[in-house]
Amino acid sequence: MSDERPKGRIVVQLFPALKDLTRRGLAGWVILAGATVVSLIAIMTVISPWISPYNPIDINVGPILSPPSSQHPLGTNHLGQDMLSRVYSGGAIMFQVAILSVTVCIVVGVPIGLFASYTGGYTDKVASLVMDSIYAFPGLVLAIAIAAMLGPGVVNMALSIAVVYVPSYFRIIRSQVLTIKELPYAEAARMMGATGRSTLFSYILPNVIPSIVAVATINFADAILTAAGLTFVGLGLPISTPDWGWDLTYGRRLLTSGTWWVITFPGLMVVLLALGFTLMGEGLSELFNPRLQR
């Protein structure tokens, strides 16, 4: 058993599955559509400093609550901020929080899942019980409690979201490992004298990776929606950061005056971004594991 093998396997498992997406039926097209939406929004966010007509956090760049006009194509809010510029740059926070929380989830959830399910017995029972307790809890409420205690900030927000979603990774990995470790090839590896560790990392892990990728992609959508939710209940970032969640939160109070443009455009951006990730995740799940239900 050389050390090259596991790495080779991972590449063999994941990337050919993603090749020729256009020839893989509906699932392939769904992944492509989702990826396109996400990439476009990501590009827009990255180049926003160059394309924004105004600084998104400068106040009084125009009259307050001005409806969409040639000066301000998406209108202005109650602080006289330009909504177009805020829409361009408001995704940065979403991406940061989502990427950070998904990373934490993978770093924490995957090793626990692998170890507990491969070891089995008491370790597995305890880990499952802890994970199931968190999983059963209303996610947003738990995230609210943690975020309220930790205080505002991108990292704190990401951590409170990560705690809620670690069990999703744990569960998918556990169910996969339990199936795979009984398969003939894993048994053969053990019979040929592979140690527990090498069986786990060289033979089982590579087969679990596609599922992790699928879960992580769907998790991006959940993280974005949860981040927006945290902002909405007042646990978001300070006013000095352009953020779609913030616009949705404060725009609610402006609705009674008939101001529709402050919530509509940032809201649609959140929907598009979450939809892009959901589509990618659903397509990936179908491609890697047709029977996997969300």
Binding site: A136, M149, G229, F232, L255, I263
Partner: protein, 343 residues
């Protein structure tokens, strides 16, 4: 395994889960920030005053004593004291809970009926335009933040069309009084039910009008999973022999679909309802905030503004207990309806 031993086993499994959860919330509130009392005061505070404040809330005791107080308090239905006015949190929780319950019930009704009807329609027009549009709707509903949908609903139906109120639960002073027999008064806190018990159609209409937008919003966001579940289940069931047999007997298509085939989807839908209950409560927190609905979620969000950490702890614990009890009930119901699960 008999139904009784299944129930006992299931209850025994719930206890450690609840204990873990309670401990987790306790640690989050006491240990994560270091000291919730100092955190409550944004700026520096006189140490003497802080000590007094902690003493009144029992936060000056050692952690293990606080833990025991916390657990024994919960056994007595005591969810702690508010940091703001030292009033018992349980009172606030119990008075706000009926509003949340009522919203949750109506949202569930909408979620299931929309989900099932769309799912059935999609399965009947498999792989055609209606099927594709319904599937797109189902997927898109995951991606919509519930408060954004709520804001759009307010904008269209309340601000522009003036069809429904934009928020709150009822016109102030119009709260239904519930059932009155002689000197006996009883009310559930669920306004629709109380208006009927009071026999007041005006209040009933008003309660429904106030309920409509929030429950529609919450129901629509959560119905996607039921669309998918029903569609998948119906696609399989409609191929089965008993459906063909029912058709061959000349029954109306509607009777075949809704009276025969749909029954097979009942158990999976029930299971999913149990699983979705946590999501329903989480969604209710945001929906209540959007529509100024005076329920638990709004109470929780208010407490965040006041940095009232003991009250936040109380509400979060209460949410956890409700979810644990509901999922226990759903599992028992499921075992009762489907004996296979017990083995």
């Amino acid at each position: 395994m008999s139904l009784r031993s299944y129930i006992i086993a299931r209850i025994l499994l719930t206890i450690p889960m609840i204990m873990l959860l309670l401990t987790f919330v306790f640690l989050v509130v006491r240990v994560l920030p270091g000291d919730p009392a100092s955190l409550h005061f944004e700026k520096q505070v006189d140490p003497q005053l802080l000590l007094q404040f902690k003493r009144r809330l029992g936060l000056d005791k050692p952690l293990e004593i606080q833990y025991i107080d916390y657990l024994s308090g919960l056994l007595r239905g005591d969810f702690g004291k508010s940091m703001q006015d030292f009033s018992p949190v349980s009172q606030q929780i119990f008075s706000a809970f009926p509003a949340t319950l009522e919203l949750a019930i109506w949202a569930t009704i909408i979620m299931i009926s929309v989900g099932v009807v769309l799912g059935v329609q999609a399965s009947r027009s498999y792989n055609s335009l209606p099927d594709h549009s319904i599937r797109v709707f189902g997927t898109a509903s995951y991606a919509i933040p519930v408060f954004f949908l709520g804001e759009v609903m307010i904008m269209i139906f309340a601000i522009y069309l003036h069809l429904f109120p934009a928020g709150d639960r009822i016109y102030a002073g119009m709260e239904p009084t519930g059932l009155t027999i002689g000197d006996m008064h009883w009310k559930s806190g669920l306004y629709v039910m109380d208006s009927i018990l009071e026999g007041n159609p005006e209040k009933l209409l008003m309660s429904v009008r106030y309920l409509f937008l929030p429950s529609l919003t919450l129901g629509m966001v959560l119905c996607g999973i039921f669309v998918r579940l029903t569609r998948g289940n119906m696609l399989e069931t409609l191929q089965l022999d008993f459906v063909t047999a029912a058709r061959a007997r000349g029954l109306k298509e509607r009777t075949v679909v809704y009276g025969y085939a749909l029954r097979n989807a009942f158990l999976p839908i029930l299971t999913m309802m149990g699983l979705q209950f946590a999501a329903l409560l989480a969604g209710a927190v945001l929906t209540e905030t959007t529509f100024s609905w005076p329920g638990l979620g709004r109470y929780l969000v208010d407490r965040i503004t006041f940095r009232d950490y003991t009250a936040i702890q109380g509400v979060v614990v209460f949410f956890g207990l409700v979810v644990a009890i509901v999922s226990l009930a759903v599992d028992i119901l499921y075992a009762y309806l489907d004996p296979r699960i017990r083995f």
